[in-house]
């Protein structure tokens, strides 16, 4: 039985169909909705909105709120981290490469609309059909929405004839000491990282992409994440993780193009289809919040190797002061413990990666009554093995922080190079 009905007979809309279609054409033709919506590249994907045909109103959004979807590189990698994340890993249910191509073509079209704040598709005013856009972001600004797409190592098994194209660095991560991985947070054929300054905008993107994928791919796992918002931190300082410490101080400089080529972007050493792309490592790290909360401040600071309030290395006052791992106290003991998180992550300073993590809070662990909260660690690097794996191996062995966290999820993805208008995301691999 169905719980309640809303089946009053409302026969009329059926017969209005012709009229509304004409109305739509008139509206799209007449008043240049592309301008109205502020995005540069919204041509074919615009849906008729309920503009009533008056003179075009002032632009709804400023360009500063739109991060272009098209370009030589994907957005959402060097893009300064937006306030919210909605991450989704998908499994393909098809075994036909042509279906995968079609999915990415549809996703590309949708992504261009989603990131520019437009409705997806052209059927949003037909009373006989479900709208092609689910509508919860209608009227909202693009909110710096970025969508970043990738494929996991599983894509290169026997299903699609792509085995020979698998880059050697793209493989499931080796086991790390202390891992407690749960299958429901691991892997995936495809991933989409949706980031935006508004959670509803980010969710709307993933929801619609999942909907478009039905019959071709299914959700495997999702995780929402947050950072402090721009409103809460107008100065845009380094965000703090849920343990209260600044996280990301030691990140490489995303404005330095040569450093980004060295750390993030794949070049000629990579298969042709990955040049201009990058590899993403994702780890769902549950923090043992309750245990952390009863450790002393000095323990906490020794664990990170930094002062909690300023983020500066122990013994220093400036957040961005160099980590002086040789500094010793009068008794000859290192000022910054060698097994602190900062010291181990830094190593000899030669291996770097770009971190772009978000905190998560997924309610309560029903077994223990503790908070199910932590960090969705995300990093980008041009070589997973040389960068992420070598650093994580070091950390997993002796990081003091291990006492306060457990890695429950793990996945890696090859994030394609960007796409130009007329092309589609993933074309270099699938085309």
């Amino acid at each position: 039985m169905k719980s309640k009905n809303s089946k009053d007979a409302q026969g009329a809309p059926l017969f209005d169909k012709k009229l509304s279609r004409r109305e739509m054409l008139r509206l799209t033709g007449a008043s240049g909705l592309g301008l109205l919506l502020g995005g540069g590249s919204v041509g074919g994907i615009l849906a008729a909105r309920e503009a009533t045909g008056q003179a075009a109103p002032a632009p709804l959004v400023s360009n500063a709120e739109v991060i272009p979807f098209y370009g030589s590189r994907q957005a959402g990698i060097l893009t300064p981290a937006q306030n919210f994340l909605c991450f989704a890993a998908f499994d393909l249910t098809t075994t036909k490469l042509a279906d995968v191509q079609k999915l990415f073509q549809s996703w590309t079209e949708a992504a261009a609309a989603l990131t520019s704040g437009s409705l997806i598709g052209s059927v949003n005013d037909n009373p006989n059909l479900p709208p092609t856009d689910t509508g919860e972001a209608d009227g909202l600004t693009p909110s710096k929405c970025t969508l970043t797409f990738g494929v996991g190592p599983a894509m290169f098994d026997g299903r699609f004839g792509l085995a020979a194209k698998r880059p050697s660095t793209l493989a499931d991560l080796p086991p790390f000491a202390g891992d407690s991985l749960e299958p429901q947070w691991c892997g995936g054929d495809l991933c989409v990282q949706a980031c935006a300054d508004d959670m509803q905008v980010a969710f709307h993107a993933i929801r619609n992409l999942a909907r478009i994928a039905r019959g071709t791919a299914v959700l495997r796992w999702t995780q929402e994440g947050f950072q402090r918002t721009g409103n809460a931190d107008p100065k845009g300082g380094t965000p703090r993780n849920l343990l209260g410490f600044k996280d990301g101080t030691g990140n490489p400089d995303v404005t330095n193009d040569s450093e980004m080529r060295e750390v993030v972007w794949c070049g000629s050493e990579s298969p042709a289809w990955m040049q201009g792309g990058t590899y993403m490592a994702v780890r769902r790290v549950r923090l043992r919040i309750e245990v952390w909360d009863r450790s002393t401040l000095s323990d906490q600071e020794a664990t990170f190797g930094r002062h909690r309030q300023t983020g500066a290395p122990i013994g220093a006052t400036d957040e961005f002061a160099k980590l002086n791992l040789d500094a010793a106290d009068p008794e000859g003991k290192p000022v910054i413990p060698p097994d602190s998180h900062s010291a181990l992550a830094h190593g000899d300073g030669t291996v770097k990666m770009l971190r772009r993590s978000y905190s998560f809070s997924s309610g309560m662990d029903l077994t223990t009554g503790q908070l199910d909260a932590g960090l969705l660690f995300i990093s980008f690097q041009k070589d997973l093995v040389k960068q992420f794996v070598s650093i994580q191996k070091r950390l997993s062995k002796s990081d003091r922080l291990n006492e306060y966290m457990v890695h429950t999820g793990s996945a890696v993805f090859a994030c394609f190079p960007g796409v130009r208008e007329g092309g589609y995301i993933g074309e270099t691999l699938l085309g």
Partner: protein, 297 residues
């Protein structure tokens, strides 16, 4: 969903009598006779709304055939419910358990029609907590007695009432105004039923016979798709093909759970099997919800 029905009180009374008689006369066969008679009634009753639709597609034949289908299912539903309620009233616990789920399948195939007919759906199919406890009656109340309390005791009155409600459904169904929009939305509605209560195992919480309902809902939707397929193929052949393929995929996913003439207990399904069924269902329901495309030009 768009349903409307209107009937004069006299016609309703006549229909109840008609249905009762038809049933008694055909109680040992599934009644081609009553199907034919119904078809004639149906053709007469549906002309008006269908003709009003100014669309290029012609739904007259689909609507007529659907009405025949609904009435066939209703006839069989009454017959099976009679056998089930008889077993309950005569205290045959195991017989009653065996007859319960198969009888319900006839109802589940045409559930949106029943939902359109006032209180019939809650009276026949309400689960505990769906309605005021004092008003709770129908299949699931008996289900609780049979499986949770292992008794038919105290259920005679409920059984009598259930049979009367089933007969009333059979009578009222003659008066339902079916149009093409109802068909399109009805198909989606059937799959939504599966998605919201069957796939979660909530519907048959005592008997765990959810797979019977699941299959019947899908079959009911498939019937509508088959009837609309010729028009849909004219309008959007690739959509018609996609829907057909996804029905096949879902039915293939359900096949391993067959057991004899029926289906295994929903409790025996593993978590990932439930998830896969649910995802196949969503994959089908999404294109199916776009069948409304045939209503336009």
């Amino acid at each position: 969903m768009k349903f409307s029905y209107a009937f004069p009180a006299g016609l309703l009374a006549a229909s109840i009598l008609f249905a009762g008689c038809g049933n008694d006369n055909n109680s040992n066969n599934n009644g081609n006779n009553s199907g034919n008679e119904s078809a004639a009634t149906a053709a007469a009753a549906t002309n008006a709304p269908a003709a009003a639709a100014a669309s290029a597609a012609d739904f007259t034949s689909a609507i007529d055939q659907y009405r025949i289908y609904v009435i066939e299912q209703c006839d069989e539903f009454v017959k099976q419910t009679e056998a089930f309620t008889h077993a309950v009233k005569t205290g045959k616990l195991e017989d009653a358990k065996a007859l319960y789920a198969p009888a319900r399948m006839y109802y589940e195939r045409i559930e949106p029609i029943a939902e359109a007919l006032g209180d019939l759906d809650p009276n026949i199919d309400a689960r505990e907590n769906d309605v005021d406890p004092a008003e709770w009656r129908g299949f699931h109340k008996i289900e609780q007695a049979l499986w949770q309390n292992s008794t038919t005791g105290g259920m005679a009155g409920v059984a009598d009432q259930l049979l009367k409600d089933a007969q009333l459904l059979r009578a009222k169904v003659e008066t339902v105004d079916i149009d093409e929009s109802l068909l399109v939305t009805g198909a989606v509605e059937l799959l939504n039923e599966v998605s919201s209560s069957k796939v979660t195992g909530e519907e048959e919480r005592y008997s765990h016979t959810d797979l019977y309902d699941f299959v019947a809902n899908v079959e009911g939707a498939q019937k509508i798709y088959e009837l609309l397929k010729p028009e849909l193929t004219k309008k959007d052949p690739s959509l018609a093909q996609t829907i057909g393929e996804r029905f096949d995929a879902l039915l293939a996913e359900l096949a391993p759970f067959k057991s004899g003439d029926g289906y295994v207990s929903y409790e025996t399904l593993k978590e990932d099997e439930v998830r896969k069924l649910s995802q196949n269902l969503d994959a089908l329901a999404e294109p199916l919800s776009n069948m409304g495309t045939i209503l336009g030009v």
